[in-house]
Symmetry: C2
Subunit: 173 residues, 2 copies
C-alpha cells in the first residue's frame, strides 16, 4: 500500500503533466490525492520542492534507460537502442516525460543533465562508426530524439512503429 507521501507525488505529477505546473494549485493536488493541503507542506518544503522531488524520482528512472546503452557491445547496437528509446517509454512514465518536455519551455530546465550525457555518448558512437563530423551528427540525432519524443508524447500512436522503422533504416540499422 502506498504511503500518503507517495500518493501526493503521484497526484502532483499527474496534474502537473496534464494542466501544467503553475496552473495546478496545491489545493487541487490535496483534493485529488485525498489528503489535507497542510500535509503537502509537511513532506515538502514548498511547491517547488514538490516539483524537485518529482523530477528527482523521474530522473532516476530516466537514468536507468540511458545506463542500458553501455550494455550493448557494438556502436551499431547502441545507436539502434538510443533511436528507439522515445518509442519505448513506458506508459506509466509518460507523465514524467511530458512534464520534463513542457518545463523545457519555461525558465529553468531539468533536462540538461540527461541530454548532455546522451550527447556525449552519441559522439563516441559516431566516432566508432567512422562518421566524418561526429559532433554534428550527434547534434542531429539529439534534435531527432526531441522530435520523436514530442511525437510519441503528444500525437496519435498509430504510425509510430512505421516511423521508428524508417529512422532505423536511415541509419542502416
Amino acid at each position: 500500500m502506498k504511503s500518503k507521501k507517495e500518493i501526493i507525488l503521484d497526484t502532483a505529477l499527474d496534474l502537473f503533466a496534464k494542466k501544467g505546473y503553475t496552473a495546478t494549485s496545491t489545493a487541487k493536488i490535496a483534493k485529488q490525492a485525498g489528503v489535507s493541503e497542510g500535509l503537502i507542506f509537511r513532506h515538502f518544503s514548498n511547491k517547488d520542492g514538490l516539483l524537485n522531488a518529482i523530477m528527482e524520482l523521474g530522473k532516476e528512472k530516466g537514468q536507468a534507460l540511458f545506463n542500458l546503452i553501455q550494455e550493448f557491445d557494438t556502436a551499431k547496437d547502441q545507436l539502434r537502442y538510443i533511436l528507439q528509446i522515445p518509442f519505448q517509454i513506458p506508459i506509466e512514465e509518460h507523465s514524467f516525460w511530458k512534464l520534463l518536455y513542457a518545463l523545457k519551455w519555461q525558465a529553468d530546465s531539468y533536462d540538461e543533465e540527461i541530454s548532455s550525457q546522451l550527447s556525449v555518448e552519441l559522439v563516441e558512437i559516431f566516432k566508432k562508426l567512422g562518421y566524418e563530423n561526429c559532433e554534428l551528427e550527434a547534434s542531429y540525432v539529439m534534435l531527432l530524439f526531441d522530435g520523436m519524443a514530442t511525437s510519441v508524447l503528444l500525437k496519435s500512436h498509430k504510425d509510430q512503429k512505421e516511423i521508428q522503422q524508417l529512422i532505423l533504416k536511415k541509419y542502416n540499422l
Copy 2:
C-alpha cells in the same frame, strides 16, 4: 507610434513566452506595458481573449511563411525552403513561436491548423520526388521540423548553420 492596445499585445506576448501563460498575471502585463490593468479588459474580453488575439496575429505571420512554399517551382526547391524555415524565423517572431511550442504541451493547442497544412504539402512534394512511402516520409520531416524549431528556439545559436547544411545534405538538396 504604437497604440496602447498594440503595446499590451507586445508586452503580453513577451511575458507569456518568457514566463508562461498561467504564470503571467494581467497585473504584471499592465505594469510592464505602462497602462492600467483595466485597459486590458477594455480591449480584450478576458485573459484568454488576449491570448487568442496574440495567436491570431502570429498565425497570420506564420501563414505568410508557409504560403511562400507555393512560390517555388520544383518540389526540390520547395523541400529545401521548408527545411530551412525553422532556421530563418525572424528574431522578432521568436516569442510567438516559443509561446506556440510551449502551449502545445498544455491542453488546447493552437498549432494543429498550421502543422496539418504543412503535412499535406510535404506529402505532395515527396510524391513528386518519387518517394515510396510519402505519408511516412512527410511524418518524418514534420518530426524533424519540430526538432529543428525546438533547437533554434531553446538552444545556443552557434552550430545551427552547420546542422542546417547537414539536413539539406541528407535530402540531396
